[in-house]
């Protein structure tokens, strides 16, 4: 399994995905070797349970841009694989475009089947292809999907997006959702103590977790909050995450005198976010583009009611009125009404939160995701073994 990030090197959600997927695959008898990049706190070679982690240098000489750096580390990772692992594996599994050249090269040089997971596409991330850098990434993504024996996507929404963006035959695509680990706290006392650090006892906490970027729709939440706070004063908004929109949003809130009703803690550790999921009353995810929406599942696993945009993977996860509420993407009025409704109906909030927790346990555990992935590996190997495309 090849990924440019793996704990403790965490850039986005991919590191955690690869960590938990490989761990659970290891527990059901699939031996995984993870090839990733270095980190000052991690050894270059490591055994974790049944799995092996091989790390490579991420920097050797200067690069003019991000893509060139990506290709440089692809070169060092390939060198490491070819010298240390050689062809001692049955399947090559790469995630996203950043390690695509490695996957394509190993596939052909040793004639091994390639499985690709597309977590998001360049087309979707930027709502279109606008410059040559993006076009290059888009074409690498296309090639990776074209060459893959099977492509895994995390939601029905992503399946449609990948078909539309790359014209992939339907039978090459499999939908396996992301997994989530429950984030509920063990002690009720912890929750009461933690809550008092963030809000007054009479205040309801509305939580957002995600990058402060346009595609996450955080600006829409701030607009809804502004409208809501003009009518009721018993709400505190906690918006966790870093990004280019953060400074603008905090400035605009300060200007209109609502600074004490918002808290922007920036980037927080997993443990700190876990506490916030547990102390909040409602979790809001107003994304405009969301391939999956793992943060919504995390909030649900704490038994909290989620309000999410009716878009992307969030649409697959939320059943409106059962385990959360869906609102029109980019509608601050809809979002404000939904928050107001849940604040006024605590019993409904509790019912939906309970249903959300069940949804997570039934459909989104890493054990279940690993079982699905193992089935795909087995199917790919069966097809490969029947075919004639092999080294001889």
């Amino acid at each position: 399994m090849i990924s440019w990030e793996y704990p403790p090197r965490i850039v986005g959600g991919l590191a955690r995905h690869v960590f938990w997927l490989s761990k659970e695959l290891g527990n059901i008898g699939v031996e995984i070797t993870i090839v990733s990049l270095d980190h000052p706190l991690a050894p270059m070679f490591e055994k974790q349970g049944k799995n092996t982690i091989v790390r490579c240098l991420s920097y050797r000489f200067p690069s003019p841009d991000f893509i060139t750096w990506v290709y440089q580390f692809n070169c060092w990772m390939l060198e490491k694989i070819l010298t240390e692992l050689r062809n001692d594996y049955d399947i090559i599994h790469v995630h996203d475009w950043l390690t695509a050249p490695i996957g394509l090269t190993l596939k052909h040089i040793f004639r091994k089947p390639l499985v690709v997971t597309i977590h998001s596409t360049e087309y979707g991330r930027r709502t279109g292809i606008h410059n040559d850098f993006q076009k290059h990434i888009h074409e690498i993504e296309w090639k990776e999907v074209f060459e893959a024996w099977k492509t895994i996507v995390c939601s029905e929404y992503m399946k449609k997006e990948v078909i539309a963006a790359f014209n992939v035959p339907l039978n090459k695509l499999s939908v396996i959702p992301n997994g989530v680990n429950p984030v509920s706290l063990d002690q009720k006392a912890d929750i009461i103590e933690a809550r008092s650090r963030y809000a007054e006892p009479w205040e309801n906490i509305v939580l957002y977790v995600g990058r402060m970027v346009f595609e996450k729709g955080v600006h829409i939440l701030v607009e809804s909050a502004r409208q809501l706070l003009s009518r009721r004063w018993d709400v505190k908004f906690i918006l966790v995450g870093e990004g280019p929109l953060r400074a603008n949003l905090t400035n605009s809130i300060e200007k209109i005198g609502l600074g004490n009703k918002f808290y922007f803690p920036g980037f927080l550790t997993d443990e700190e976010v876990k506490v916030l999921y547990n102390i909040c009353d409602i979790a809001v995810f107003p994304s405009l583009y969301e391939p999956f929406g793992i943060v919504a599942l995390e909030a649900m696993s704490a038994g909290k009611t989620v309000i999410a945009s009716d878009t992307g993977g969030l649409s697959d996860i939320i059943v409106h009125g059962f385990n959360g509420l869906k609102v029109s993407p980019s509608s601050s009025i809809d979002l404000e009404k939904a928050i107001d409704y849940l604040l006024n109906h605590p019993k409904e909030r509790s019912r939906m939160g309970h249903n959300g927790l069940n949804t997570v346990y039934e459909k989104f555990s890493w054990k279940s995701i690993a079982r699905h992935t193992k089935k795909i590996y087995q199917r790919v190997l069966e097809e490969y073994n029947k075919g004639s495309w092999k080294p001889n």
Binding site: R60, F61, P62, S63, P64, D65, I67, T68, Y71, Q72, N74, C75, L78, E79, L82, T83, R86, N87, P101, L104, T105, L106, K107, H108, I109, F110, R111, D132, F133, K135, H136, E139, I140, W142, K143, F146, E147, P391, N392
Partner: protein
């Protein structure tokens, strides 16, 4: 034989090299397919690679986006045509896929430079990156074969490549002996 370009200049060099090889020696030439296909001699096989990636920002992105195509072509030669003995790359760009073939199939890898990025006076992040890949290719090569002594001195000094790993032969004279020496090592 791997090359990135296959223009008149490179072609004349490779034709000259092939003319110095004994009869019965098979040569397979791989390069990016945007030039005419020409069979050099009856026992020489020639193939251009077609890459689907069209938007190449600069030479480094071009090289890596075509790495899978090179790997496919190299494996087809190895598994379907003949198991080659030696890999000879004619620039750092084809040096990268040659290193892959060397490491994957445990074959000796010989590299020829006609000019160097390091000698370029216009220093920027792209040229520094190219220098890095040139140095990396030199380090991975089992032998460097050059046409002039000046370049040998430069590679020795700029890239710290051992003197005895660098051969100089202006007209490919003694190429068979160099190949034999590399194969023996």
């Amino acid at each position: 034989m791997l090359s990135w370009e296959y223009d008149e200049y490179i072609r004349s060099h490779i034709e000259n090299l092939i003319s110095k090889l004994p009869d019965g020696c098979k040569v397979y030439i791989l390069h990016i397919a945007d030039v005419e296909y020409i069979n050099l001699r009856e026992n020489k096989i020639h193939q251009g690679l077609a890459t689907d990636i069209k938007t190449n920002l600069h030479v480094i992105t071009s090289v890596f986006s075509s790495l899978g195509d090179y790997a496919r072509a190299i494996s087809r030669i190895k598994y379907e045509v003949f198991d080659f003995d030696i890999i000879h790359a004619h620039d750092w760009m084809s040096g990268i896929p040659s290193i892959i073939a060397k490491l994957a199939y445990i074959k000796p890898f010989v590299l020829t430079f006609y000019r160097l990025g390091a000698k370029n006076n216009d220093k920027n992040l792209i040229s520094l990156s190219i220098e890095g890949f040139e140095r990396y290719s030199c380090n991975q090569a089992d032998a460097l074969i050059l046409h002039d002594k000046g370049l040998r001195k430069y590679i020795f000094e700029a890239y710290g490549i051992p003197w005895e790993k660098i051969y100089v032969t202006p007209e490919w004279d003694g190429i068979v002996d160099i190949y034999k020496e590399v194969l023996e090592k």
